[in-house]
């Protein structure tokens, strides 16, 4: 008796399709690529529940007639419509022509399409492999494909899907990649009826990248190089961009998104020491070359690609990227946050470097200069000295502030444990405005915990009878004035730590050496030595940088030696 029975063709198709169509994002990718092939100028994508409930992609491209409509969902390797451009000759990535059929076999798919030359549009539905009939439908020119209940009958596949949020993110990545591959096309993506992404028609690659990444145009450098049978163009991000954006690397070969590990490595190598070793460069690179030179991998899902003359192509990439990096002045540019404001200062090339970047950079490297190294003081404000990586510049006030802050913090914590307070006799009275009074009243319990005894002494006045030992002898009027300003800025009760931090920060600021104070050689060296062993030494308590490092490599680049 035969227990083994052959599988029906529908089931076979479903299994095969399940391997190829792993997740909603792949469906979206396929549908978008069909739309792009059809010459669309507008593509609208909508999805629900991460794509597992439904996905719709609609475009204003060539469309299909009723015959093509039927053929599109049967297994067929070539589409009848050819793109005319030489570089875009029919690129069937193995299963391209089978994509729709695969998707249709694991979902309920409806395709509506109308050609501009046709009187009417046509619609066809497929339910998990069972093809319905073609019916006429009223619609504008173009194609709309709806995929519902993906994997409804493939519970194993369904189990492999991640949460809606993760699947949504994958779809967004697909749409963004498509948007970068064709900046002249408009994309609109809605999820659960909320607009997630919209880009208008006819943008340049730079405009598109600026829009999608929400960065200023200066952070993206143009790449445009021609070699024999190869054109490389696109954008490469400045080193500081690498810190702000993670995983933003896009490679397109003849406008198809691909991955190529060696190429990515070459780009990174070309950046060299410009880049913080822990970051990845940002790039959007388009390669245009003859199809004969491209070797498509058998694993279509991964969209890996190999080149025939790979070494030469990689060399060309390195040259192109290098050229781009050379064009620009790469001294670190001060970009005030949020990044949008950066556009306010189009031609602001003041070379005040960016604190966060340097902080993480210098964290990794040695800062302390050997003892007895000569320290220069510029403008009675900045200290300059040699350091193993190169040149170090220190803001004396910011540095001293940090040193004192850490010291006070330690003292404060110790005193807190000891509950060391000092009684003010006579007590101090402070006056403030109506709202300040209200805010102060809200913070009385918090201040009490730190060791301040503050009580109401009138409509808008307060009596301070006790302060923590640390604050004795300091200008309390000023301290409270600054505290009140801070509170007003917050507008609501602030935490204990925040209040302590501010009062100590205030103390540190007031007690530290100022910008404009002359320091002797000995004092300068002492400051630097002290700083080297202070926690969080790269920023002052207010978040401003204390130290700037220029490595030998930076200097070389600045002076165009490299």
């Amino acid at each position: 008796m035969s227990i083994i029975r052959p599988l029906s063709s529908t089931v076979i198709a479903a299994i095969a399709a399940g391997e190829v169509v792993e997740r909603p994002a792949i469906v979206v990718k396929e549908l978008i690529e069909n739309s792009l092939d059809a010459g669309a100028t507008k593509i609208a994508i909508s999805a629900s529940l991460g794509g597992s409930a439904d996905i719709t992609v609609s475009d204003d491209g060539f469309g299909m007639d009723d015959e093509d409509l039927k053929l599109s969902i049967t297994r067929h390797t070539t589409s009848k419509i050819f793109a005319i451009d030489d570089l875009n000759t029919l690129q069937s990535f193995g299963f391209r022509g089978e994509a729709l059929a695969s998707i249709a076999s694991v979902s309920i798919m409806t395709i509506q399409s109308k050609m501009s030359s046709a009187e009417i549009g046509y619609q066809i539905s497929v339910r998990h492999g069972h093809i319905g009939e073609v019916i006429p439908v009223g619609m504008p020119n173009g194609t709309t494909i709806t995929v519902e209940h993906l994997f409804a009958e493939q519970p194993a596949r369904r189990k492999f899907l991640k949460s809606s949020a993760i699947e949504l993110r994958r779809i967004i990545e697909v749409v963004q990649a498509a948007a970068l591959s064709h900046p002249e096309v408009s994309f609109a993506f809605t999820h659960n009826q909320k607009m997630i992404l919209f880009v208008p028609k006819k943008q340049t690659l730079l405009e598109r990248a600026v829009h999608l990444f929400k960065q200023s145009p200066q952070t993206l450098l143009h790449v445009d190089a021609h070699f024999q049978n190869l054109r490389i163009f696109g954008l490469v991000g400045t080193p500081q961009l690498a810190h702000q954006l993670k995983q933003k690397q896009y490679l397109f070969v003849n406008h198809r998104p691909v991955h190529h590990n060696a190429l990515t490595a070459v780009v990174k190598k070309t950046f060299g020491a410009l880049l913080d070793p822990r970051t990845q460069p940002v790039f959007i690179l388009h390669l245009e070359l003859l199809p004969s030179v491209i070797d498509v991998n058998i694993h279509p899902r991964k969209e890996l690609v190999r080149f025939v003359d790979e070494a030469r192509i990689l060399e060309n990439i390195a040259q192109a990227v290098d050229q781009a990096l050379k064009q620009q002045d790469l001294s670190f540019h001060y970009t005030p946050s949020p990044p949008e404001l950066a556009m306010l200062h189009d031609d602001n090339k003041a070379s005040v470097p960016m604190s966060n970047l340097l902080k993480s950079v210098t964290d990794a490297w040695q800062v302390t200069p050997p003892a007895q190294t000569e320290v220069m003081q510029i403008d009675n404000t900045y200290l300059l000295t040699a350091t193993p990586p190169g040149l170090m510049i220190i803001d004396q006030h910011a540095a001293h502030e940090r040193i004192l802050y850490q010291q006070f913090l330690t003292t404060f914590r110790t005193q807190q444990l000891q509950q060391a307070t000092s009684v003010l006799d006579p007590a101090m009275v402070i006056e403030c405005s109506a709202i300040e009074a209200q805010l102060l009243r809200e913070h009385l319990p918090t201040l009490a915990k730190i060791g301040f005894e503050v009580e109401p002494f009138g409509e808008h006045s307060f009596k301070i009878s006790q302060v923590p030992l640390l604050y004795v002898g300091h200008n309390l009027q000023q301290l409270f004035a600054e505290l009140l300003e801070d509170f007003a800025g917050d507008g609501h009760p602030v935490s204990l730590d925040s209040v302590s931090q501010r009062t100590i920060a205030y103390l540190a600021c007031r007690s530290a050496v100022k910008a404009g104070d002359y320091l002797s050689q000995h004092q300068r060296q002492a400051l630097i030595t002290q700083l080297a062993t202070t926690e969080q030494r790269f920023t002052c308590p207010h978040g401003r940088p204390t130290t700037m490092i220029f490595t030998i490599s930076d200097l070389e680049k600045m002076f165009r030696r490299r």
């Binding site: 439908v137 009223g138 709309t144 006579p426 009275v429 009074a437 009580e455 002494f457």
Partner: protein, 800 residues
């Protein structure tokens, strides 16, 4: 309950109730809110009404030997929401405040400081953010209708008059005004006929009202007599409600627009410009679809713009140029929009300042809003925007910002009476009072040290609280060391509180100084407000410009998201649209499935498109989109089409059966004929006419004849002929195209068939509809099969 109070005979025993009676006598048509301490109280019938509408408890007050007086009250702090509830329920409320301080002996003086009516509601929270709140006043004299409208918070003032004639009745004029202004309150002169369709009230004191303001208004310029009278009456009414003579309204603008594209009530409703026909909601109306303005002022202005489409080509091009600039300069546009997003309704804020109901926080908010204007100027200049604020207003704004920031503390309170918001160094007197209080406080703190030494009680503390003021606190353990000059004030569980004569003296100094400085701060606040009000005009102008910018940015934003293109305006008389779409329907239609359509119309050939075919095929949507695209072009906006060549149009008429006011006592057909007559009388060669199914409300032969004649009338005279889209279900009319070849062209909405069922293609095609798809549509709608079969049989018979 009981009816009106008989003021002559009723008597109350308490002076307060007598006072109340006096007030109520003068405000019999209002609910009187009588201020008693922290509450506004309502008495007698008012209390019953108030309790019912507001859902608050009805209590009563002893009347002594005469029984109990019904009363109910609302707390002062929450007054606004109760007020708006009462007013929205249709009542007027007279606010009677205490105007003197209670001194324990005499009765506090009370005065009505304001009357709140639906049109004079000043609480922003109760008002529609993006819509004006008008009081409309209408009069009728010698066949001339005068109308005046004021929005008290935005200070806009409209007025005008129009002569009644054969096809313009009083009711029509009133409906028109109602459709355009959507007034919150309508006042009629005694000479006006009664009106059922809208809620109105008659100003019985008309003759008295028109006296004084007439003279003042007449001085401002040439105003026609009926307009003058109506405007004067309205001003008097407003002065009466606000208890002030200074309203500082803007200069009068014409209430009926002359130099704009005209649309009547019918057109406004049929195009669903502000409300859908189906349920009268704003949702899915034209305005709601295109309104992405960020400020309240911008939203209100956009609404006004829609009612005033431009007819001057240069003016339209100017707007289009600005819009085109912002479509291109995406970054500048987004930046400006993000600044505007943070701007509060500063127009209404200025209005409240003007009416004396503002507070220090308002002034600070004003400074912030003006600051945003400066920021906008900076960004605009940097991006070389063609739209810049005028320099004079900007410099005034800068001055006001400086003045306010110099004078007021960073975050001022809402109550101007409790002080604590004027900065130091602004006013010597204030500083002196503060200094005095401060000195005394210092003395008190020193007393603590002194007394500690003197008595030896080191734990002695001097504290303060609102109830007892300053006191010396000594714990029970130390009571034995208390000196004799300590006067006991309060006993607690673990301590005793004392005072001394000197402490008391200083306490009194502080109290007096506080009272004086509070008063002084209030005065300074009023002065500051007055100072700001002196610059009311340039500030108002600046705000108006900001609203304009908001609207232009809105058009640009819309153009990008909805893929609109720039229309070309001509004087050629030709209307040419390629792939036009309906802005609202395409927005609602899922998955971009809206089918676009082309159309060509001119004053010559074709002048009239006769569109036949069943209703669900898309005729109405198509015709309306042509009207809307034309309207949008005249607003200076980009349009939903690939190409649009629009000729300058003077009027748009949309005649459709859907918006007929059957409640007004006229039959559908009658209304249709009245409106069609109006169109025939007023349409010119520059007009656009949409006729959707004429002749439906009567017998077939009547209907065909009338529709035929009307269509002919529209094309007869070359000079007269407006461009017309004429939809009809009478296939007989298709013969008109033979009679007027070229001028009248037959069209239909394409329908395919599939297995006997119609498939709507929504595409406009040449030629008349061949099939009457009525039965197919009926079947689609779900009419039972046997009925359909029977109809088919009958149809065959009739067609023979």
């Amino acid at each position: 309950m009981s009816s009106e109070l008989d003021f002559e005979n009723v008597e109350f025993s308490t002076p307060m109730m007598q006072q109340y009676l006096q007030v109520k006598k003068q405000y019999q048509d209002c609910i009187v809110w009588f201020r008693l301490g922290d509450f506004y109280e309502m008495f007698l019938d008012d209390a019953v009404t108030g309790s019912r509408i507001l859902g608050i408890t009805l209590t009563s007050r002893a009347r002594g030997k005469d029984g109990r007086i019904p009363m109910c009250g609302v707390p002062y702090h929450a007054a606004d929401q109760y007020l708006s509830k009462l007013v929205k329920a249709g009542h007027k409320v007279a606010i009677c405040e205490q105007v003197t301080e209670p001194d324990g002996k005499n009765l506090v003086e009370r005065e009505v400081i304001r009357v709140i009516t639906p049109g004079t509601l000043l609480d922003e929270k109760s008002l529609e953010r993006k819509q004006n709140n008008y009081v409309l006043c209408v009069s009728l004299k010698n066949q001339i209708v005068g109308a005046a409208a004021v929005d008290l918070l935005t200070r806009e003032f409209l007025a005008g008059e129009v002569r009644l004639d054969a096809d313009k009745t009083f009711f029509q004029v009133l409906s028109e005004l109602h459709a355009c202004l959507q007034p919150a309150e309508i006042l009629l002169s005694p000479s006006c006929p009664a009106v059922d369709a809208f809620k109105t009230s008659t100003l019985k004191e008309w003759k008295l009202y028109i006296q004084f303001p007439s003279k003042k208004l007449a001085q401002t310029g040439e105003i026609a007599p009926t307009t003058l009278e109506t405007a004067a009456a309205l001003i008097s009414y407003l002065q009466y409600t606000q208890k002030t003579d200074t309203l500082r309204l803007q200069s009068i603008q014409p209430i009926w627009q002359e130099n704009y594209l005209k649309m009547n009530r019918s057109t406004i409703q049929n195009l669903e410009l502000f409300a859908t026909l189906h349920e009268g909601h704003r949702h899915h109306s034209f305005l709601q679809t295109i309104d992405h303005t960020l400020t309240a002022m911008g939203g209100r202005l956009l609404r006004q713009w829609i009612l005033k489409p431009l007819t001057d080509q240069e003016a339209i091009e100017e707007r289009l140029d600005s819009v085109a600039f912002f479509v291109q300069k995406r970054t500048a546009r987004e930046e400006l929009r993000s600044i505007l997003k943070e701007v509060i309704d500063v127009e209404r804020l200025l209005g409240r300042l003007n009416l004396g109901i503002s507070n220090p926080r308002d002034l600070k908010n004003l400074a912030h809003a003006l600051d945003a204007m400066l920021h906008i100027t900076y960004v605009s200049k940097r991006s070389q925007s063609p739209f810049l604020f005028d320099g004079h207003s900007i410099s005034i704004a800068q001055q006001i910002i400086d003045l306010i920031n110099r004078t007021l503390s960073e975050l001022p309170p809402i109550d101007p009476h409790k002080g604590g918001f004027i900065l130091e160094g602004i006013d010597q007197e204030l500083d002196t009072w503060r200094h005095t209080a401060s000195k005394s406080r210092t003395w008190i703190v020193e007393l603590e040290t002194t007394e500690r030494k003197k008595t030896g009680i080191t734990s002695l503390k001097i504290k303060f609280n609102q109830v007892f003021g300053f006191y010396i606190e000594v714990s029970n353990a130390n009571l034995t060391h208390v000196p004799s000059y300590f006067v006991r004030k309060q006993t607690l569980v673990n301590a005793e509180r004392f005072s001394t004569p000197e402490l008391k003296k200083h306490e009194e100094i502080i109290l007096a100084a506080n009272a004086e400085s509070e008063k002084r701060e209030y005065d300074l606040f009023q002065k500051l407000v007055a100072h700001v009000l002196e610059t009311l005009h340039p500030l108002q102008s600046l705000i108006k410009q900001a609203a304009e910018l908001d609207c232009l940015l809105n058009f640009a934003h819309l153009a990008e998201y909805a893929h609109y293109s720039r229309p070309t305006l001509t004087a050629s008389g030709e209307l040419n649209i390629k792939n036009g779409r309906h802005p609202v329907i395409e927005h609602i239609t899922k998955d971009q499935q809206f089918v676009p359509n082309d159309v060509t119309l001119s004053t010559k050939n074709p002048q009239l498109l006769l569109i036949t075919g069943p209703n669900m095929a898309g005729k109405s949507v198509f015709m309306r989109q042509v009207a809307l695209i034309t309207l949008m072009a005249h607003l200076g906006s980009f349009v939903p089409a690939d190409v649009a060549q629009i000729t300058i149009t003077d009027q748009i008429f949309v005649r459709s059966g859907a918006a007929d006011m059957i409640t007004a006592g006229l039959s559908t057909f009658m209304v249709e004929m009245v409106e069609t007559a109006h169109i025939l009388r007023h349409a010119t060669v520059k007009s656009l006419v949409i006729m959707d199914e004429i002749g439906r409300g009567t017998s077939t032969y009547d209907g065909i004849s009338i529709a035929w004649a009307i269509a002919e009338e529209l094309v007869k005279e070359r000079k007269f002929g407006p461009k017309t889209l004429f939809a009809t279900h009478y296939h007989e009319l298709q013969a008109l195209a033979d009679k007027w070849p070229g001028k009248i062209a037959n069209f239909h909405m394409a329908i395919a068939e599939h297995q006997g069922k119609p498939v709507f293609l929504y595409k406009l095609r040449e030629g008349g509809a061949s099939h009457s798809f009525g039965l197919a549509v009926a079947q689609l709608a779900g009419i039972p099969e046997p009925v359909i079969e029977r109809a088919k049989t009958l149809l065959k018979k009739l067609e023979k």
